[in-house]
């Protein structure tokens, strides 16, 4: 009789009080409400709708959550789910880790950010120096949003706009002209000379100068018809020119000068005058490849750290995927033991499916795989029976 009475009272309460009141009265009876308060409170929480994310009884996910990672967030933020798939997508967004930057309940910062904006960014981008001898003012003030978007962008480096337009959004054109007297040509491509974060040089000019640039502009910009073309680079970099006469080459890219797709002709942060980190430079064209493997469970350490040139010949190669050596030699440079003692590989061992030479990459996919040792299929059976069908 007592049980029937309880059910009646609970049912009546459920009808009489809205969910908000239920959360207020039920959840916060145990969970301290103060722990969920702050300057900015997540809307469902503010409305007392704890059940929007949590199941009060039982759930498949930690914290009695209804779903995991971004799937939970996108159950309300549906518009963002589609928008965050466009163009270049920030790594935590791509891997559904919204909580890498945001907190779910309340924060003292807008956008429910975990920490101050720059601290949130530096939390992952820990190789970026926090300060330079000459630091760009928005960078010094931790205003990463001045130039970058946090989730995705159609522009490289998650920029808000084309690089020059981002610069011009603060720097007035006429002021720039004054600072670039005798500039040979139209003032553009700011990042070719300047590091937008900071530098040890005045005017945040990048640290390493291309030798001809250090001697003045005329070396390249006063040579008649070849000025600015790929040839103007290759006449000095002969070895690169030879390397490009290969089955596959990177003699491609936007614009007349293919070299500047990856290199700055003027100044850079390191000796190769790359326009960014290797991963950034490669991603500008190979976003599909990087995105495909980025979230795989098992990745080769070099692929993970984004040192693409460890295995790939970046100018030209006669091998598939522009590898530096064949599918065995490239691996045994480091994996010496496997080079001597392993499943038979080499010219005399034939992949029965295709008649091609068996190499390490016949079974392994170093870029990334969901199987241990970056295997192409599961090592327990599926991989072996690709060729050993009788087993």
């Amino acid at each position: 009789m007592l049980n029937y009475y309880r059910i009646f009272v609970i049912s009546w309460l459920a009808i009489a009080f809205p969910i908000a009141a239920a959360a207020d009265t039920v959840c916060f009876q145990c969970h301290k409400k103060e722990a969920f308060s702050g300057k900015v409170v997540h809307q469902p929480l503010a409305k007392g709708q704890c059940g929007a994310c949590h199941n009060p009884h039982v759930a498949h996910f930690k914290g009695l959550l209804e779903a995991e990672g971004s799937a939970l967030c996108f159950s309300c933020h549906a518009k963002e789910e589609n928008a965050f798939k466009q163009g270049m997508v920030h790594q935590p967004v791509r891997s559904g880790q919204c909580l890498a930057c945001h907190v779910p309940h309340s924060s003292s910062r807008s956008g429910l950010l975990k920490e101050q904006l720059s601290a949130t960014c530096f939390g992952c981008h820990d190789k970026l120096p926090q300060k330079f001898q000459y630091t760009h003012s928005p960078y010094a003030q931790g205003q990463c949003y001045s130039c970058h978007r946090p989730h995705q962008s159609v522009f490289g480096e998650l920029l808000k706009d084309e690089p020059d337009k981002v610069c011009l959004s603060c720097h007035k054109s006429q002021d720039l002209q004054k600072g670039h007297l005798n500039y040979p040509g139209t003032l553009r491509n700011c990042l070719s000379c300047h590091n937008p974060h900071g530098s040890s040089r005045k005017g945040i000019v990048r640290d390493i100068l291309h030798a001809p640039f250090a001697q003045g502009c005329k070396e390249c910009h006063d040579k008649g018809e070849i000025q600015g073309s790929t040839q103007s680079c290759l006449r000095c970099h002969e070895k690169v020119a030879t390397g490009m006469l290969a089955r596959h080459s990177h003699l491609t890219g936007k614009g007349e000068n293919k070299c500047v797709a990856c290199h700055s002709p003027h100044a850079g942060n390191e000796k190769n005058l790359l326009k960014g980190s290797q991963l950034q430079v490669c991603r500008s064209c190979h976003n599909d490849t990087i995105a495909r493997y980025e979230n795989k469970l098992y990745r080769h350490p070099k692929a993970k750290e984004g040192t693409c040139i460890n295995c790939h010949e970046v100018h030209g190669s006669n091998r598939i995927a522009m590898l530096r050596a064949d599918g065995n030699a490239i691996c045994t440079r480091c994996h010496e033991t496997q080079g001597k003692f392993t499943h038979p590989v080499g010219e005399k061992v034939v992949d029965v499916r295709t008649g091609q030479m068996v190499t390490c990459v016949t079974c392994h996919l170093p870029m990334g795989s969901d199987f241990k040792y970056e295997l192409i299929y599961s090592g327990s059976k599926d991989l072996c029976i690709q060729c050993h069908k009788r087993y």
Binding site: E225, T230, Q231, M244, L245, A246, R247, S249, L251, T252, G253, K254, G255, E256, K258, C285, D288, T289, R292, N318, R319, I320, A321, V350, D351, R353, T354, G355, Q356, M357, Q386
Partner: protein, 295 residues
């Protein structure tokens, strides 16, 4: 008379209906593997084939076995005929055509040469192609009406060469910021592909842009294109790998084929083209073969 008319009109209606049903079922038929051109017949596996040349007149396929520096010929049925290594002189052959005078022209990446092979005269000559002072970086090649169409990899433009190998004119795509990576000559002009912009472009015979359309929503790394018998545009995605089909206005129709090492699967495909017998040929650099698909 009226009775006869009725019968005739009904018969015509029936015939049209049967024809429509037949063609609809034909159109809906999926692409299926038909033949494989591999190195088995030559006693040596093909290594990194880069192109296929089809000689409709002789009913022959020619596979450019780039990794072994040789050319392999096959019958229309896909039977191996001959391996030709040009006395071991070829250096990374990449693509080829045969001209009206029966001379074979091979793009050699290793020497950046358009090498002529006159088998009857037993003569092999290398030719470095220049436009003014600039040397062209040779890539894809085709031949029509005594004109060589050759892709210059450095500029991403197509050079039209006279028989004496002088540059007659250029076809360039102002819309394509990254340049052309593949092209096909068809009766109504030239279709070309821009990899980084993920764009298909159509030119008339004079190189005037007719139209272009974006394939970026469907493809990740488009490297080759072919024009099907019905006029649809087939675009090869090297990284997916798969083939996407678009109509002439650029509307996406469907994709087919997938990654793998078995029959009918693709691994690092590099070129597609249609043979005159309705087959769709896919050159697979990764699997060392050419697969021919039919319906």
């Amino acid at each position: 008379m009226k009775y006869v008319k009725n019968i005739l009109s009904q018969s015509a209606l029936l015939a049209v209906s049967i024809f429509m049903v037949a063609t609809t079922s034909l159109a809906a038929e999926p692409w299926a593997w038909k033949a494989t051109l591999d190195g088995a017949g030559s006693g040596q596996a093909i290594v990194m084939p880069t192109a296929l040349y089809i000689d409709a007149e002789r009913q022959r396929y020619y596979v450019i076995d780039s990794g072994n520096n040789r050319l392999l010929s096959y019958s229309q049925e896909g039977n191996f005929l001959l391996a030709f290594a040009a006395e071991g002189k070829l250096q990374i052959p990449y693509d080829m055509v045969r001209d009206n005078a029966d001379v074979i022209w091979v793009v050699e990446k290793g020497r950046n040469s358009l090498t002529s092979i006159n088998i009857k005269a037993k003569e092999i000559l290398t030719h470095i192609i220049k436009d003014g002072s600039r040397t062209l970086v040779l890539d894809r090649i085709d031949y029509k009406d005594s004109i060589f169409y050759i892709l210059d990899k450095e500029t991403g433009q197509i050079a039209l060469l006279n028989s004496d190998l002088t540059v007659k004119s250029w076809i360039s795509c102002a819309e394509c910021t990254s340049g052309i990576v593949d092209f096909k000559l068809v009766n109504d002009g030239i279709w070309a592909l821009d990899l980084l912009d993920k764009k298909v472009v159509q030119f008339d015979h004079d190189g005037k842009l007719i139209k272009n359309f974006d394939v970026g929503q469907t493809l990740e790394f488009p490297v080759s294109l072919a024009i099907g018998p019905a006029g649809n545009i087939y675009v090869l995605d090297r990284h997916a790998p798969a083939i996407a089909v678009f109509d002439t206005e650029g509307s996406f129709k469907y994709t087919f084929l997938a990654k793998g090492w078995g029959r009918g699967e693709l691994y690092f495909p590099i070129e597609i083209l249609f043979d005159p017998w309705g087959g769709l040929c896919v050159v697979e650099e990764g699997n060392g073969r050419v697969e021919v698909f039919g319906r």
